[in-house]
Subunit: 334 residues, 2 copies
DNA sequence: GTGAAAGCGCTAACAC
DNA sequence: GTGTTAGCGCTTTCAC
């Protein structure tokens, strides 16, 4: 049975305002009154009604974090976003969009816009137009590079440079048949950028990108990496290195390589992307391109908070958090 | 700029009620009126204010899912809970408690109680008393066995029987120095139950549980399994099997075993618990006790929905979803 | 078919 | 120091 301020007020024999004052630690309340009200509060088990509060003052103190799914990378990121938000007194409402455009749209600016004060979204399927519509009505910060230049705040590492660094690490090892795992028939967003970085690295060494070394996938999960590497090895048994566009693909790849009798890194060196915790425990441990996830989370929350509390419109900003390569045994042996 | 029903009404030249009727697809609205209102709705970009709606009709259509952290098991479970809830038209607000008691209490029945219609919580630190206080004021369903018999709905596989089955699998393989990885100085909750299942299995084969085969941990993460197995091997180099209380511990264990030159499963067979996706991709793939996670999620949401919509108080119920052992190469070779 | 108005619980401006 | 009151946006009788 919900208890309202009014209930407490009548029990304590004071007005609703006095109860409100006590609840909000308003200093100018006579100590005896305060004690009496506090007792009534405790006895009745009063708890503020957030909907009413939000309706009244227009803020909920909550932000939404919309993620396609709870894979390791997004889980680790969510953890950090929650922490960063808590430091600012904000509660995070986490939403799993399933990568569906309709859901992403709804979440980002629609249904929730009157529930949360702002949204951090990692869109998979949302289009630039979707975002355009939303951004004026609701503070929003985008994670990942898919919709760059769309006029909203943006947080993502420089994917091209990072992919290039990962590929160069393999080339520096003397490998010259480096495959790219995670490409797509019609590359877009993140995939396109990582592919570009890979190609830049090759070209800088005067190596011609070779279509037969591109392993396409539908999703970025372990089974996709597994299946793609089996196909790749059938077509190009001479491959000597693998740049995987994320770690899950790499884990699937490690398994496929092992099944095909390839030693890692002796026969094939493997680099992943994201540096999820699992990298340190795979066999062999996976060298991975590590985005500074804490910096990503911090930047996203920071930008969003600024935007939420801004009086005037803010120019869209772009933040590129740092990254670094974490070398492990999948490339440098043990 | 938020648009209210009133705004739409004045633009469409009708009353607020008519707009509401259109928004709610109330059938008895003259088509011409409906069209005019719909146009105003679209032009102004009306979106309902959820706080107001909730304030008015007492329900938010949201449930909270409170998890200690976003580890693989909880992430997979969260995915399934979101899906199960969506099927019932509910939105899930996911909360990361960090395993802190104060946070768990707040979430479970406190701060959020007026924001969500019910809560599914997987408590790590919450005590029985905490739950007692909350359960009458707020629909709640608990995941995991830690607080059994506390008078609230409960969903958890039979941990004792499941742990026993996992241990028996190792014994059936002819191993007789089976260590338990994941025990604690002061076993409680899940740990106590899994330990008991392990001991039951041993005793049924007339094997005396041996303290030196208990590998204690602080947390259930990969590094804890890794460190504990290094200690275990130092003390008991003759161990020939490992029952790990969760998969992450097992992944840490696999790595430690490999570093110590133990072959899996030839020298040491390893069983995990939870059957997270990673099991199929570890090297070797990990045999694991697989709770039916979809059934857990389904049961949790189902119980909660019943409770939320109940007129009369419901007796606390306990649901034990099925589980099964998923044999893989970490015990049965390849 | 549509309109007017009360009231959900809260906050804040304004009285006293 | 404390009380009164308007009104946030919505739903829902109850009139018309």
């Amino acid at each position: 049975m919900p208890v309202s301020l009014k209930d407490v007020a009548s029990v304590a024999g004071v007005s609703i305002k006095t109860v409100s004052n006590v609840v909000h630690d308003y200093p100018f309340v006579r100590p005896t009154t305060r004690a009496r009200v506090q007792k009534a509060l405790d006895d009745l088990g009063y708890r503020p009604n957030f909907s009413a509060r939000r309706l009244r003052n227009g803020r909920s103190g909550m932000i939404a974090l919309s993620l396609p799914e709870f894979t390791p990378y997004f889980s680790e990121l969510a953890d950090l976003v929650v922490v960063a938000a808590e430091e600012r007194g904000l509660t995070v409402l986490i939403d799993r969009s399933g990568g569906e455009r309709s859901h992403e749209r709804r979440v980002a600016g629609g249904i929730r816009s009157n529930l949360v004060d702002g949204t951090i979204a990692s869109p998979l399927a949302m289009t630039a137009e979707d975002v355009e519509i939303l951004r004026d009505s609701h503070p929003i910060v985008l994670l990942g590079e898919r919709l760059s230049h769309v006029g909203v705040d943006h947080v993502a590492i420089d994917s091209v440079a990072a992919a290039r660094a990962a590929t160069e690490h393999l080339l520096d090892l003397g490998r010259n048949r480096v495959a790219a795992l995670g490409t797509a028939r019609r590359p877009a967003g993140t995939v396109a950028l990582r592919q570009r970085g890979y190609e830049h690295a090759l070209r800088a060494r005067r190596i011609r990108p070779d279509r037969s070394l591109y392993a396409d996938v539908d999703l970025f999960h372990r089974p996709d990496g597994y299946a793609a590497v089996h196909r790749l090895l059938a077509a190009r048994p001479d491959v000597d290195a693998l740049f995987c566009f994320n770690d899950l693909l790499a884990f699937g790849a490690l398994r496929a390589l092992r099944e095909c009798g390839r030693r890692v890194p002796d026969d094939v060196a493997v680099v992943g992307f994201d540096d999820v915790e699992e990298c340190a425990y795979s066999i062999p441990p996976l060298t991975s391109l590590a985005p500074d996830k804490a910096a990503v989370a911090e930047a996203a929350v920071g930008l969003l908070v600024q935007r939420m509390s801004a009086e005037l419109p803010i120019e869209p900003r772009e933040v590129f958090p740092p990254y670094r390569l974490m070398p492990r045994e999948s490339t440098i042996g043990s």
